[in-house]
């Protein structure tokens, strides 16, 4: 058996619908059509009342899900693309994000954001918005990088009593496969050491994990061993795991697909520079997308985003090799 990242997301939702009557899926075309990416395919047939098509109204979709969550349901909103969540931004950031703190009533809402770049996606079907949501208080932001995490973390997201922004990567949907769905035992908020190494720590998440793993493989040939941390959740950030790793390696690189200004990389570096300053043997670095909209042409796109090649360069500079 081979299961894709996308299958994992669908199976997680199936499992949730089966085991928890409070789970509701709401979004454009998620019903019989199964969603733009087929992440809900086959679910409306089995759970016709709890897999609902929505109008093109992101603000009201999120508002509706907030209302349902307040009343005790566990709604999962599918945005058709992460990029369109900007239209529902106010409801997510200001209504969902502040509700528990203001009222003491939890809003167990999960917003699935099909995120990140794919070839030909262009400026408005490629965005990675984890930093925008992480900046606002009251939200948990997840960025699964593996098939197992896509499955386990989505299930966990729905059980969490707070609004969770679930950034699933579109590039991984079909490209990433696993043989089995191993239930993940690490809880939300804990990073995973995806590879151990002694020479430098590379902190990453989502699709970039796989680029970094490639770099590590290549450098292993030169007897350079990277330690790779997959953050899994970007808010909260598991600073402890990163610091412990930097304590071993003395060097830190952050690689993320999002824009640089105020992104996950900046936040990680700010924390490690503060809490782990004396552990660092070299200036901490980051590799991010370029600070422009995401280009349409595949050749521009593959330069705009970080990839094994540009990450390798940065690691070499970090290690002066």
């Amino acid at each position: 058996m081979s299961i894709t990242y996308l299958n994992a997301i669908r199976e997680a939702q199936r499992h949730l619908l089966e085991t928890d009557q409070r789970v509701l899926i709401y979004g454009q075309d998620v019903g019989l059509f199964g969603g733009a990416f087929k992440a809900t395919k086959g679910l409306a047939e089995v759970f016709p009342d709890r897999v609902m098509d929505a109008p093109i109204s992101e603000d009201a979709i999120v508002g509706t899900a907030i209302g349902a969550a307040i009343e005790g349901l566990r709604p999962i909103v599918e945005m058709q693309f992460a990029d369109f969540s900007t239209v529902g931004f106010n409801q997510i950031a200001n209504n969902a994000g502040a509700f528990f703190w203001r009222t003491g009533v939890p809003v167990p809402l999960t917003v699935r954001l099909p995120s990140g770049g794919t070839s030909g996606g262009g400026p408005f079907h490629s965005q990675s918005l984890e930093a925008v949501y992480a900046h606002y208080p009251g939200l948990v932001v997840m960025t699964p990088a593996t098939v197992s995490d896509a499955y386990s973390m989505l299930i966990e997201a729905v059980t969490i009593d707070d609004p969770v922004i679930f950034c699933e990567h579109k590039y991984l949907y079909y490209h990433l496969k696993a043989d089995t769905l191993e239930p993940e035992t690490l809880p939300a908020g804990k990073a995973r050491i995806a590879r151990t190494g002694r020479d430098a720590t590379v902190v990453t998440y989502s699709a970039m994990l796989h680029e970094v793993l490639e770099v590590a493989k290549e450098l292993a040939n030169e007897d350079v061993e990277l330690e790779i941390i997959d953050l899994r959740t970007v808010k909260p950030l598991d600073t402890d795991t990163v610091i412990a790793s930097v304590a071993r390696t003395g060097r830190l690189l952050c690689a993320a697909e999002a824009w640089p200004w105020g992104g996950v990389s900046a936040e990680i570096i700010a924390r490690i520079a503060n809490e782990g300053f004396h552990l660092l043997d070299a200036p901490p670095r980051r590799v991010n997308a370029k600070d422009t909209p995401i280009p349409y042409h595949p050749d521009l796109w593959s330069i705009h985003r970080p990839a094994a090649r540009s990450i390798l360069l940065a690691v070499r500079e970090l290690l002066r090799i």
Binding site: L24, G63, T64, N95
Partner: protein, 341 residues
């Protein structure tokens, strides 16, 4: 009415004396409480602002009164009266406005941003229109869980109708045929902006047909008309006829907030029927109908004034929050809170 919308309804069900009395009491309490809040604001006891409902009490209270305690209510800026009619106490209102840690918002939010979601009473966020879809979601949830018979009600102004949030939420409610009553208080101004700069339609109720919902209009200065029209809308929503859009004409007889003298309001408008003070109209109505005489009204007023004064004393005595003991965690799931930076 000017439109030919065939969803137009005008019930003639006469409101009972008991209902009118309840509504009147909430109106009077809201008016006196507003005056007290304004005084507290001017005395520097309330920071930020106070937003008053003067002139809109009949409409607001009629709505709050028409709801059951199991319904959902999301009031807006000028709904002090509706909040009271829906069950809020004067003490609770004051706690929120004075930022008491014993209020439902526990000093964290205040003034008009107050509620108790567990009791179906939603605290607005400031962004106009944002609560409509939240009420819709609560109703959808109840339907899914098989809980029938409850309705939801929410308020908006003539300005709030211009928000995308209003549009998306009303449309969604119509598609799902939710039992939602949307009350538009058309006070002809959004802050200083006159309605001609807000919409080009002849009447806001003309929007109903475009959403496929039923539309109603009311004279927002007349307690009886408010009571009838809102009663009708609430009944229809409860009967499963889908969303009801009620548009009431009135004026705000005060500033946008206590800081605003509202000198932008057209004098000529003030001299029309919609410029009447709904509290005066209600008083006359109650007297005409022999529900209350002048003396009883004066007594009621004195009684409410005492209630408010003692509530103010109590809430001020309760004191403010201890910022150093405060729990600074924005998440229900504590273990997922980022450590303080």
């Amino acid at each position: 009415m000017q439109t030919a919308v065939d969803t137009w309804t005008n019930s003639t069900t006469a409101p009972t004396s008991a209902r009118l009395l309840e509504i009147f009491r909430s109106m009077m309490t809201a008016r006196l409480l507003d005056e007290k809040l304004a005084a507290l604001y001017r005395a520097g006891k309330i920071h930020g602002g106070v937003f008053l409902g003067k002139g809109q009490e009949a409409l607001s209270a009629a709505l709050g009164q028409a709801l059951r305690r199991t319904d959902v209510f999301a009031p807006l800026i000028r709904d002090g009266a509706g909040r009271l009619a829906f069950g809020e106490t004067v003490v609770e209102a004051l706690r929120s406005c004075l930022g008491s840690p014993q209020g439902p918002m526990r000093s964290r939010d205040g003034n008009v941003h107050r509620g108790r979601p567990r009791d179906g009473y939603l605290p607005m966020i400031s962004h106009l229109g944002a609560m409509i879809s939240v009420v819709g979601g609560m109703l959808l949830s109840r339907r899914l869980r098989g809980r029938r018979g409850d309705i939801g009600a929410t308020c908006i102004g003539d300005g709030g109708v211009s928000t995308g949030a209003f549009h998306e939420a009303v449309n969604l409610a119509a598609v799902e045929k939710l039992p939602l009553v949307i009350v538009v208080a058309n006070n002809h101004y959004a802050y200083s902006t006159p309605i001609e700069k807000q919409t080009a339609c002849r009447s806001l109720v003309d929007k109903a047909v475009g959403y496929g919902v039923q539309g109603h209009t009311a004279d927002g200065t007349d307690i009886v008309d408010c009571c009838k029209v809102i009663g009708e809308a609430v009944n229809r929503a409860r009967a499963g006829e889908g969303p009801q859009l009620v548009v009431a004409e009135l004026l705000r007889l005060c500033g946008h907030g206590e800081h605003d003298d509202a000198n932008y309001i057209d004098r000529r408008l003030k001299e029309t029927t919609i410029g009447r003070d709904c509290l005066d109209v209600a008083r006359e109505t109650l007297q005409e109908r022999n529900i209350m005489d002048a003396e009883a009204i004066a007594q009621l007023r004195a009684e409410i004034t005492r209630e408010i004064e003692s509530a103010v004393q109590q809430v001020i005595k309760e004191g403010g929050p201890d910022p150093f003991a405060h729990d600074w965690c924005a998440l229900a799931t504590r273990r997922l809170a980022d450590p303080p930076l």
